[in-house]
Structures are given as structure tokens and as C-alpha cells.
Symmetry: C2
Subunit: 302 residues, 2 copies
């Protein structure tokens, strides 16, 4: 599929977390228009049911399409896990979620760990592989567990388990409902957060003591990466950490649809939120890593 110019990439999340995906996209695809939608009036998706999440996600995606977006990134693990197919069915443009790229990056990391070398090109090839075909089962141990930290709804969906199993990896998913509130409280570097992480990680590792890879299955969690490294060191179980936000940005940059586009010479970002614009600007800059400039309020009827 050839994208019409100008390249306009929509990035959608229930709140601010997807800004970590946008943050990773900006240097990788510098010449594009970006339109970000945070469905903040209806967040968090993570504690809601499949039907409700699908309804919210499709209406949000349609809004972005109406704004002229010609490639959509579902930068929300919960919405990807529960509504990616609904969104893909509803829109006539490429729609990329965060689960598949995260699983592929975990595959590459596991393989690198197994063989004691990094093979980034194999992660790329895994991305376009038919997930029904198990890759190179002879060289990857089925006992190679990947720990996945995510919201309750993402875990219940078993989306990461399915994506990892398709790559001949075993998944151990752990719901971590307190991590998003802790990030939003600003307790990024805080003893309470370290204690909560210690509890969650100890429980997860008890179920998969041989795990060597940890996949951050929520776009809020990259902000906790230093705390997670610190906690893993304190419990004596270092793991390779895969950030699904970074992995997704790389998958978007490698998407075939982008290869045939006319290059823009500028970059622009426009932000929409369904709730308080002021709060979006204030909290969002922590996730984006730079000031969030223009934010427009949009009512999606929720």
C-alpha cells in the first residue's frame, strides 16, 4: 500500500503513556506530521471490559482517521490486546499495535541471550513472519520464559502469551495494577515504588525462575525502567528489559508503507485530549520528554 503524502502518523492511547511511543518515533521518523489522541476522559482502559475497550478504541481511531491520519499506531497495550482487529477492520489504513513489536523484540533478545550475540536483523524478519509458523524451533528452547508486566486487562487478554507462543517463547504475564497510578503520582524514583516492584517482580519470578527477559507491556512502564533495573539488582535477578514503546517505533519505521512515501522536510505534532487540556500538558511532558505544546479538547461522546 502506498501512503498518500503528506505522511501523517496518528498515535492513540487512553492517556499519556502512548507519548513514550511518540517520543521514540520522533527521532526515527523525523519528517512527518504526528497527531496524538489521548482518550483521557475514559482512561484507564486497563480495568475495563473487552467490549467497552473496543468501543472506546474504535471511536478514537475513527476520529484520528477523520483528521487525515494515513498510518495509525495503537500506542496502548490494552487497546492493542483487546481491540487491534476491531480497529483494523474499521479503518482503511495500516494500523500497528504494540504487542507484536514487543514480542518480536523479546524474541530477538532471547535469541541473543541464548547464542550470546545480538541479532537485530532477525527481530525485523520476525516482524513480517507469519505468526502461525513457529520460527526455528530447534535453536530456541521452549522453556525460555519471557516475563511480561502489564495491566490487568492486557494480562487477561493473553495477547502477549499468544504473540510469544507464536515465536516459540513461553510467557509469564503479571498484572501490575499499581504501577500506572504510581507513575501518575510522580513516584518514579521512590522507595514505595521500589517496594511495589519488588513484590510484583518476586511473584512473577517465582512462577518463571529461569526467565532472562522482561517485557514492559504497558507504555507507562518505560518511566520506571531505572527503578526496575535497581529492584532486579536488589533481588539478585538481572533481566534483559524490552521496552515495547521503543520496539513499536522501530516496527513503524520499518513498515513497507513508509518506504514509498514522498519525504516531508518538516515535523509537526498536534495533540488532542478528551479531558483536561491543562493536565495533559502538565503530565504529558514527563512522558514525551519535552514540552507538550498545543493540546486541543475533543468530545468523543463518552
Amino acid at each position: 500500500m502506498t501512503l498518500p503524502t503528506p505522511l501523517t502518523i496518528g498515535v492513540f492511547d487512553s492517556g499519556f503513556g502512548g507519548l513514550t511511543v511518540l517520543r521514540a518515533l520522533l527521532p526515527l521518523i523525523p519528517y512527518a506530521h504526528y497527531i496524538y489522541l489521548g482518550d483521557t476522559a475514559r482512561l484507564p482502559y486497563g480495568s475495563k471490559s473487552h467490549e467497552t475497550i473496543a468501543r472506546y478504541a474504535v471511536s478514537s481511531a475513527k476520529f484520528l482517521h477523520e483528521q487525515g491520519v494515513n498510518l495509525l499506531v495503537v500506542a496502548c497495550n490494552t487497546a492493542t490486546a483487546l481491540a487491534l482487529e476491531d480497529i483494523q477492520s474499521a479503518l482503511p489504513i495500516p494500523v500497528i499495535g504494540v504487542v507484536e513489536p514487543g514480542a518480536n523484540a523479546a524474541f530477538a533478545a532471547s535469541k541473543a541471550t541464548k547464542n550470546n550475540r545480538v541479532i537485530p536483523s532477525e527481530a525485523q524478519s520476525a516482524e513480517s513472519r507469519d505468526p502461525r509458523i513457529l520460527p526455528e524451533a530447534a535453536t530456541i528452547s521452549p522453556k525460555n520464559h519471557v516475563l511480561v508486566l502489564a495491566t490487568a486487562a492486557t494480562v487477561q487478554s493473553r495477547a502477549y502469551t499468544q504473540a510469544l507462543n507464536a515465536l516459540n517463547l513461553e510467557a509469564c504475564e503479571k498484572a501490575c495494577p499499581l504501577l500506572v497510578p504510581l507513575v501518575e503520582e510522580g513516584w518514579i524514583d521512590h522507595p514505595v515504588t521500589d517496594e511495589v516492584l519488588k513484590i510484583y517482580l518476586t511473584e512473577a519470578l517465582a512462577a518463571a525462575p529461569a526467565a532472562q527477559t522482561l517485557l514492559l507491556g504497558c507504555t507507562h512502564y518505560p518511566l520506571l525502567e531505572p527503578a526496575i533495573h535497581r529492584t532486579l539488582a536488589s533481588i539478585g535477578h538481572p533481566l534483559t528489559i524490552i521496552d515495547s514503546a521503543q520496539a513499536t517505533a522501530q516496527a513503524v519505521a520499518a513498515h513497507p508503507a513508509l518506504a514509498q512515501r514522498s519525504e516531508l522536510k518538516t515535523q509537526s505534532c498536534l495533540f488532542y485530549a478528551t479531558d483536561s487540556v491543562e493536565k495533559f500538558q502538565r503530565l504529558g511532558s514527563n512522558f514525551l520528554g519535552q514540552p507538550v505544546s498545543e493540546v486541543r479538547l475533543i468530545d468523543l461522546g463518552g
Copy 2:
């Protein structure tokens, strides 16, 4: 206003917390039909803007009125703080929120503390008092601070400050965004919750070291009352704890509209939720203190 029989009391909250108000109502008003609505698809209200909360709350209240409710309890601090007047304007029935009863109970407790005696009847009279008239300023010190723990949106609304100031009490409101997630994680009796409470209470007491009364300004917080007592003891600052859920149930029972009703001889409870019925039943029973039987799913278009 005379209520038509049968007496049907609507209880509305964004989620499960309002079930602590229903739990307090059931023994106080045993012969009534109760219809509870948890707007779980759009929770939590506490982190959203005034306009969004008012829109959600009015649509929820109208739904309950359509079900035949003839007295409505807004069993949600955030919705009361930000949307009570909107709901009262939208419905032709008595609408009672949780802020005013909580403030009145704090008034009675402060007075009892000052005079070293309990005067429950004065709390009742304070309830029907014109809030613009300051009560007995000569006997109540304006320096008698009341600590209020609540969600960010309730604190930002300053609803408790206004209600307590009208009773010649000073308020020190403290936003506690992690307490609802901790309750919903089930960490009611947990060292992490004690540590979070210690941080919040120490910060609140630093701003109001002379406080003698603590008002729980969120319907989730009664489940943390033992932990709050324990934490206050550990930091050497015991306080009289006022549970706004209990205070609200007493205000409903004392409402003039109920005095003229025909007595029912039975009690019934019907529950509606805007998201997962299964989750409502599972979590709700913790708040209600008994099994939540029939829950119906309702779509309010969010």
C-alpha cells in the same frame, strides 16, 4: 415534599465505593427498594475534569430517575463535589450528596472534642442549618482544623473546604491518588499501604499539626479505616475519624421526605453497572460487606 410509595432509593457512584454508603443505609432504612448504579465504564471520576464529571454524573442520575427512583444519593465524593448542583437541577426529586453530611459529622466531632462530650443532636441541627450562617462562632475555635483525605478532583473542587468553613472549621485537604488503586488491588492490610498512608498523613499533619479530626472524603477509604488508625498510632498522632459514608446514610435516614412515606415491609436491592458485571459482583461484595446478587449491564453511551 411527600415521596410517592414505594420508597425507591437510588445510590450512584462512579464505581464500587458507593456500596459503602449502601451498606450503611440498609440497616438504617430497612424497608425500601434500592437501585445502585456503578458507572464503572467511565471510572475513575477522581482524575477527570469538572465538565466531564458533571456530564457523566447527570447522565447516570437521569438513568436512575428513569428506573423509578424517588430519592437519590450521590454516593461519590467527586461527583458530589463537582456536580451536585447539576444533578439537583436535572432531577425533580431530593438529591443528597456525601460532602455536607461528612462536614456536619466533622462539626459534631470537633464540638465534642472541644467540650469533651458528644452532642449528636447538634450534628443533626447543623444539617438543616443555612450554611451561610456561621454556627456558634464563640464556642468553636476557627483554628480547629479538619484533615480531609480525598481524590485529586475532590480536593481541587474545594467542596469540603467550603462546607467546613461554613461551619467555622478550617479544612486541610490532602489528595491521595494511590489509595483507591491500593484498595482495588486488595492491599487493605498491607505494609505498602501503611507506608503510603504514613507519607500522606505525615504531609497532611505537617500542614495542620493541631488537627483533631480526620474526614474520609472518598467512599473507598472506609475499607482502610483500620490501616489509618494503625498508621496514626505509629506516628503518634491519633485523630477522630469521620466516615462520610456513615454520615451520609444518617442524613438520608433523617431527611424530611422520608417521614411522610408509607412503610414498605420488604427490602430489595438491584444493581446496575456500565462495565463488567462479573467484576462488579466480585469486587463489590468487599465494599457491600455481603454478596452482590443481581447485576445488570447498562450502556450509558460513554
